[in-house]
Amino acid sequence: MAVTRQPKRAATPKVKDPAPLVAPPDQPIPAQPAPRPKDAPKTMKELRLARAGKRASRAKPATNVLRDGLRLARIPDPSILVLFGATGDLAHRKVLPALYHLWRTDLLPHEFRVLAIGRRPFDDETFRADVKASLEKFSRLLPLDTAAWRSFQERITYQHLDFEDPAGFDSLATRLETIDQEHGTRGNRLFYLATQPSQFADLVGQLGRVGLDHERLESGWRRIVIEKPFGHDLDSAKRLNREVGKVFRESQVYRIDHYLGKETVRNLLVFRFGNGIFEPLWNRRYVDHVQITVAESIGIENRGAFYEQTGASRDVLQNHLLQLVCLIAMEPPATFEANALRDEKVKVLRAISSDPLDPATDAVRGQYGPGWVAATQVPGYRKEAEVDPASETETFVAARLTIDDWRWSGVPFYVRTGKRLPKRATEIAIQYREVPHRLFKEEGIAPDANLLAIRIQPDEGIMLRFGAKVPGLQLDVRAVTMDFTYGSAFNVDSPDAYETLILDALQGDASLFTRADEVEEAWGIVDPIISAWADSPPPDFPNYDAGTWGPEAADDLPVRDGRRWRRF
């Protein structure tokens, strides 16, 4: 017979003459005792120390002091990365090359395994050959390091799994336990969902059903990486968060927006909070407006079916663009810890949604027609493969956002993104106000207001524009720039965003990942626009030629406020 051990209970102390609950009628009602201060002494020792003017020291949680100051990136715990959608494009273009680079640079633990999950009937050898072919195509450093590849490929195994077959997940659980035993991966698992978004909820449900989410005592950690898009709109995002939340705790969930892993995006935080001179000028008193441009010269690159479902609003505005707005507009977090950082970002998103966008006046959509980009004639969007010839999907979106908080009240943030624009450029421009009193008023010599441009791609760098006197006897003022280019200061290759993010997820650092409430707040901003557009078909699509900067209406957004888009 099984014996259930009862938890020990502390003996109830006997109390002498407990105070009566109701005072006798001939005595005054005792005064209600003052609430006990939180830090009041609770034990005799604490009381004695308090009277002696000392405070009992509270045991601090022990920390591993040997970790302090180590310059090398911490090697993650032994673990298995379970890659769902392992035969797909994302896995081969991004995830597997990132893992290979991490391995090549000794940043993964020796006891590391990749369990690649896919529907195709591969065996280990054919899958590895497939991965090698992809690395030879997509690795950022070629040729491949033969020794590194050899040891890396030994750690890759393939498992065929039909996501709709529950029994497959039972055998997955068994397989993972076997790998733990054979390779010392200690039960630590990172589930990476590089699949179609429509499969996320089912996959998570299956993982929960077979108990692969459980972080039991001494059974290792369990984390899950989910690729964007996180939902299709606010409702679906909430639904997905709810489904994921039924199985995994929020602290186990890592939602990847790869933009946040880019070196220059991460440098935004260093630039803002690691330098003393910019932050005092980073507010409504000095900043006239902010422009963020994410321009792509490419089209939809054989992703017609995907793009038809998403469009520029869902593909870029809801995530990348709003993340950049957050990083520019957020208050300094108290610490560089994940939740502190994300709390501040959520505050920005809430401050944007507190004054909802008017789709008619604050947002513009566009779709490209045929045109010329980089001296090449390109077809219009409706002529792309897998695209409806009468498609109403937007390939361009521009918006005017306002952030209703103390720092940014009255400072518009103009954001725009589009496909088939004249060049590839991602840039944040902080346009400063004019000087309060124009000393140099004469026509032709009045200097432009200062501008700080943070280039994210290409030519990552930072440029500050200011006025300078032209040498000579006359007083001519001309705008000059101080230009910092990453490429010339640090001539070393930056890690790919996926390398940064996967390493962070393996180490349990969620700082650069998106939290559930962040996702929902971002959808809350974009959703009204998408809904309004869905209700009113665009009358003029296509409304911009490929190779131009979007529809004319987009130019009007800042022009209405007496401003204009920066010229690239």
């Binding site: 022990a62 000794d106 633990p109 001539n491």
Partner: protein
Amino acid sequence: MTVEAPIKIGEPVLRWSARAHSIAEIESELARIWSGQDLTATIDGEPGRHIPARTSVMNLVVVARRPELAERCAATMQLLTGRHPSRTIVINSADPDGPSWFNARVEAHCIVPREDAPETCAETIHVTCGGEAGLHLAAIATPLIVHDLPVTVWWPGEPPLMTRSARDLLDGADRLIVDGSSWTGDGLARLREMARLVETSDLAVSDFALARQSRWREAIASIFDDQDFLPYLRSLRRIAVTYSTHDETGAPGSTNLVKPVYHVGWLASRLGLSVHKPLAPVTGHGHGHGHGAARAARSVMSRGVAATLSDGRGEVAVVVRPVASQTPAGTTLRVELLAERRGSELRADVTAEAETVHVRVWQDGVEAMERHFRAPRRTEVELLAEAIESGRRDPVAVGALRSAAAIIGPAGSGA
């Protein structure tokens, strides 16, 4: 003069070379490089555009006392690909007792790091001097330094840290790069001098000997990431470091001890251990418990040096002992830790196996953890690249150095 050389992506090419015989001539050649119209290239389809100097970042002064050392340093710097300082000054002084002379070669090396990146250039000034001129290093380096940029001094070989010439040069420097594992003897006297230098100045120090062991530190730290083992960290009772020696006696002073002592210094500094007794040779019989000839043969090997540290509650025994091995002399082969807590014992054994660090842990005699960390030997190029791009003082390095010096003890003590 301009040097015509084809551009190769990722490889620095010599674009300018000139001779000079005085500091003034060097300055004038430097000015010619950047103000003249000679050093131009076609960039972004725009011909004749001037090649920009590297935007930042630092001056590097290399003090190479021997010509072969200067050549080796130059070769190392060539391999820094894309991480060159803005200006490198290589000083090779010779024949201090002869007449004074001064020769210099001014070069501009340019690199296109990637297809889509602009070409940038860095300057190298090779100074060869003799006699009295070569004794005043600061007088050579200071006028050639790009002001407002940090100055790093790389001093391969044996830096005479306490000499006037070295102190003058280092007074104007932000960082000193050395390789403690290349010092002669046990290297501990110079380590003590370097600690004193760090205590009495704001100089940051990068020692390749310490940097090479970073993966060891990661491996040792990883043991205590485990919450079950973390409480033992404050209850260490024994630290034993085994190192390789090529000397058949392993006698103190015969092998460089800088790397093994750094391990103890790092642990002591992180754990706040104080020195109860500094390092001193272990006396008594050698290892082995046999009798007769066998015992005599085994006891030839020294038992190393030992120290006693304290964590305020108890003593921590330290032993640094040699083992004959084919690996380079002074290489750490094993770090053993013993911790005792409330009647429970934790033993950790960290060993090097080829390019791997192997960690094994036993809790009360039961094996509780095993991990491997890949630790390929880092080249001088990698170490130099890391050192010149370091920022301010690294508290781990300062702490390890300071504690190592305390463990070695004052001059004239045992070790």
